[in-house]
Amino acid sequence: MSLKQPDPKTRRLVLAAAPWLFFVALILLWELVCRAFSLPEYVLPAPSAIVDAFFKVEFSRWMTHLWATLRVALMGFLVSILVAVPIAIAMMRSELLTRTLYPLLVVIQSTPVVAVAPLIIVLMGSDDPSRVLITCLLTFFPLVVSTATGINETPPELIELSRSLDAPTRRETWQIRIPYAIPYIFTGLRVAITLAIIGAVVAEFVAAEEGLGYFIQFSTSFFRIPQAFAGLFFLAVVSLLLFKSVQWTQQIFFPWSLPKK
């Protein structure tokens, strides 16, 4: 460390600007490389070509594809929460259930969803329910694990407090264990929301007529590479916004659960 510390204001400004500057620099470098080596568009399109391609696609078409992906991702995410949290609570209550279910959960988790997805489509048809299921398979394991961890990490003193009050187990769960698990659940939610987008895209790759994943695949197969890249960036931005929304939800509704600075 240098002896001379920059004043804190400058420091904060530099820290805030650094990622953006780096990003802009990367894009510029990319543009330069494409121009300097005159790379053909179907190998690596320049950022300017990608922006062009983005605006050539009609806004309403983007929205149709976005909605198709978002719908599946969010439904999968919600269903996952609705399934994972009760499973985690049930596993906390019963060791037998934990023993019975856990191996199955691990098997589901370690089976590549990409490999199972076509079978699910065959089994259930290429509609939203099968896509939601594919998304769920990807998202619910991290949620179960993080929720169960939070519930089980509840300090024994808090449990003792509950027992000393002779309170019903239901309240021990809802007033102590679940709130205690909130920061853990949010860690799981942050992982799950990005996985939900991946799940929706995987499902579209297998069988779909709309959605951003479908759009990328379809553009690639017609060698519209800049358009595929445009779809990819759009998808990345959507995914980032969803991730941020989970963080904002935690900041607004559960500020106490954030790590202390």
Partner: protein, 262 residues
């Protein structure tokens, strides 16, 4: 107020012991404890780490069933957690998602699912008594360790228990905070008399606060000695500089370090 035969015994332990492992070959955590505590008596328990002080406290609270002997309160055997016991833990164990006021009201919310306007008033009064009224709307992590433990004590008083069980409540605090909160506890206790069982490993703290100090042996924990503390009340920081205080702590140290000689 010290242990005289004229007062009816309030908490009685007869031949109480506990073994965590059901296997009879394993050692007892606590064994053969006979003890009578008078109503509104302040009893401190000292002893080496792992001597079963906390086990003893948990058996009195009803959280742990003795494997031998019996604990009774006011002549009724203790067979589970009871309303008339408040517990203060070593850590403040506040709920980080509730503000100070709601933490204090938590026992009611947790036990009955709700609390009344009067309860809120009572919580406010208790907080005021502990000098915490300006912190009522703060979150626990905005409070110092000493303040958090004060909230823990106030919470234990909410249900107005007859018995206050304190398991090394000040051991996580720095020396100065610890002394201050000790005097605060005495003041609160004098205003709202309770039967207190106070576990500590500080000999000076035990003598300063209690009417009677019990010394426990190493595992298996059993009562070695009882010492009546005849220092006048109310006790203040001047008590510490009295010769009698030094004499009593020295006697306790002797019991602990050279049990055979004592």
């Amino acid at each position: 107020m010290t242990g005289t035969a004229t007062n009816r015994s309030f908490v009685r332990l007869s031949g109480v012991g506990h073994r965590y492992d059901p296997d009879p070959a394993t050692p007892m955590a606590v064994t053969g404890v006979d003890l009578d505590i008078q109503r509104h008596e302040f009893v401190a328990v000292v002893g080496p780490s792992g001597c079963g002080k906390s086990t003893l406290l948990r058996m009195i609270s009803g959280l742990l069933k003795p494997t031998e002997g019996e604990v009774s309160v006011f002549g009724r055997p203790v067979d589970g957690p009871r309303d008339d016991v408040g517990i203060v833990f070593q850590k403040p164990t506040l709920l980080p998602w509730l503000n100070v006021r709601k933490n204090v009201l938590f026992p009611l919310k947790h036990k009955y699912g709700r609390y009344s306007h009067d309860d809120e008033k009572r919580a406010g009064e208790l907080l005021e008594m502990a000098g915490l009224e300006s912190f009522a709307d703060k979150m626990p992590d905005e409070l110092s360790g000493g303040m958090q433990q004060r909230v823990g004590i106030v919470r234990a008083l909410l249900l107005n228990p007859d018995i206050l069980l304190m398991d090394e409540p000040f051991s996580a605090l720095d020396a100065m905070t610890r002394e201050q909160i000790g005097f605060d506890l005495l003041r609160i206790w004098e205003e709202n008399p309770k039967t207190v069982l106070f576990i500590t490993h500080s000999i000076a703290e035990a003598v300063l606060l209690a009417d009677r100090v019990l010394v426990m042996s190493k595992r298996p924990g059993t009562l070695l000695e009882m010492l009546d503390v005849d220092l006048p009340r109310p006790r203040t920081r001047h008590t510490i500089s009295e010769p009698r205080f030094a004499e009593l702590t020295e006697r306790l140290r002797k019991h602990i370090y050279e049990p055979e000689a004592a």
